[in-house]
């Protein structure tokens, strides 16, 4: 294999190198790539907006039968956000904002209770089949101990004294081990990403592997 003759491959390769040049220091090449990136991604976002939102969610349901006239309401709310373009009507945005924030707060409460809190409590229950061996019961107890100490660490309204402070300290120990493990765990995937880029440069562009 030899070096690529495709202009597209060259463009992709040069952009890749421009971005990496930033690891050395800020330079005109990185700045160029950065601005191309910003411009393209904004144009890209608008295209996706058109394709994913305006056509299927506004145009089609509103103008094609059966007309969903109720959609005029969110469209009006959406237009109210344009109030910020004028000094006099900038407060108009507070209405859609309130609607937005309130609705999501309402959506979040039962969903968090359901899939985060109750699910985690359920998962923490020791089902007796976890007691199949000595090791598995030790594991189960360790998981509970970690959970217990971590929740104590997040207890805000009590002074950290005596046993309580010690439990919070144990909480930090567990939290740190967890962070270390999670960090080490993602290293692999991150290195894979770089390998992918390098394979592109060495194989697709330069053709030396």
């Amino acid at each position: 294999m030899s070096i690529s003759t495709s202009i597209w491959v060259w463009m992709a390769a040069l952009l890749t190198l421009m971005v990496y040049s930033f690891l050395y220091k800020d330079n005109p090449f990185y700045r160029l790539a950065e601005h191309i990136f910003m411009g393209l991604s904004l144009g890209y976002t608008l295209t996706i907006l058109w394709y994913n939102y305006i056509i299927p969610r506004v145009y089609e349901p509103l103008f094609l039968p059966p007309h969903q006239w109720s959609l005029i309401f969110p469209i009006l709310l959406g237009m109210m956000t344009f109030g910020i373009f004028s000094k006099k009507y900038s407060w108009l945005i507070k209405y859609p904002l309130a609607f937005y924030v309130g609705g999501y707060a309402g959506l979040r409460i039962p969903l968090l209770l359901q899939s985060w809190i109750i699910r985690q409590v359920e998962a923490s229950f020791l089902t007796p089949d976890k007691f199949t061996s000595l090791m598995s019961s030790i594991n189960a107890i360790l998981i509970f101990a970690g959970l217990f100490a971590t929740l104590i660490y997040f207890y805000f309204s009590k002074k950290r004294e005596h046993g309580f402070g010690a439990a919070a300290q144990v909480g930090i120990v567990f939290i740190m081990v967890a962070f270390g493990a999670a960090f080490g765990y993602t290293v692999m995937a991150r290195i894979s990403l770089l390998i992918g880029r390098m394979q592109f440069l060495l194989h697709d562009w330069l053709g030396i592997m």
Binding site: Y24, I191, L194, G196
Partner: protein, 291 residues
């Protein structure tokens, strides 16, 4: 002492150069570190390997976009290669989201170029993107032809010889979802639980542990996780003497191992330096413990 002190203040650029070197060199000159296939990978490989030209087709689903391509593209290609080598009919499905179809096209184009004797429509087919996500999965369970209508190139499904007699999941031997997100759970919920079709999964190293539970309960036939999983699959193919192409994952694994070792070496040296310098400073009374 001077050396360690300087080492502790090592400029980040040297670390970056080090990482670049240990990633690039094995790519050009592979070291060939041994790869030991693990059970989930062997399971999936063996399942596909027992199939043949007379079996029902295998469906390979593309479930990733460019961001996870380095890990997942080698898997998709290895799976397609395996099927074409064994003569198993393959349906390549372009995915549940619009951005995936481009990845699917790249994979099928590159692999089919290595199999000039395999004919499109008879040995493999390519189905495009259909909006609907879970509705699409369900709909394939009822009728493939009405779900898709045409293949990616616009040919009616009914006129593709390979898909004659393939009505729905009951005529498919395995669905493998090559996914960078949580789509394997959809396939599990809507295709496997509902229609009982076998599911295999190929996913990133980050999402692999989340799917282990399903693997243990036997809901997935097997699993490839991360670049390591892809490399193991390539290794299994090589052991059987199948054509493996460039083996991008295997080549990458050397870099992966070296980069990990370099990071660990840096951590160890950093700590050694830290202790040596601190002991020196404490001896000179520079450090006073802060309360």
């Amino acid at each position: 002492m001077g050396f360690w002190q300087r080492f502790l203040q090592l400029d980040r650029k040297w670390i970056f150069i080090g990482i670049a070197i240990v990633v690039i060199i094995p790519l050009i000159k592979p070291l060939g570190l041994p790869i030991k296939p693990t059970k989930p990978v062997i399971d999936l490989f063996t399942y596909i390997d027992t199939l043949g030209p007379e079996s029902d087709p295998v469906m390979v689903v593309t479930g990733f976009d460019p961001s996870t391509m380095p890990e997942l593209m080698p898997m998709e290609q290895a799976l397609l290669r395996h099927c074409l080598t064994k003569g198993i009919p393959v349906i390549s499905f372009g995915g549940l989201y619009p951005a995936y179809i481009g990845m699917a096209k790249m994979a099928i184009d590159e692999v089919s170029a290595d199999f000039p004797d395999k004919k499109y429509g008879e040995d493999y087919v390519f189905l495009g993107f259909i909006p609907g996500v879970s509705a699409v999965i369900l709909s394939i369970g009822i009728d493939i032809a009405t779900t898709f209508g045409n293949d990616y190139y616009g040919t009616p499904i009914d006129s593709l010889p390979m898909l004659r007699g393939v009505k729905n999941y009951s005529d498919i031997s395995l669905v493998v979802d090559v996914s960078g997100s949580s789509t394997p759970e959809y396939w599990l919920m809507y295709a496997q639980e509902r229609y009982g079709v076998n599911i295999g999964v190929a996913c990133t190293a980050v999402s692999a542990p989340a799917f282990y539970a399903f693997l243990q309960s036997g809901q997935f036939v097997g699993m490839l996780g991360g670049l390591k999983g892809a490399a193991e699959y390539e290794e299994l193919m090589a052991r059987k003497g199948y054509p493996t192409g460039r083996r991008p994952a295997t080549i990458g694994m050397d870099s992966q191992s070296l980069a990990h070792l370099l990071i660990i070496l840096l951590i160890i040296l950093g700590n050694a330096g830290y202790f040596i310098v601190r002991r020196g400073e404490r001896r000179q009374g520079i450090i006073r413990r802060k309360k």
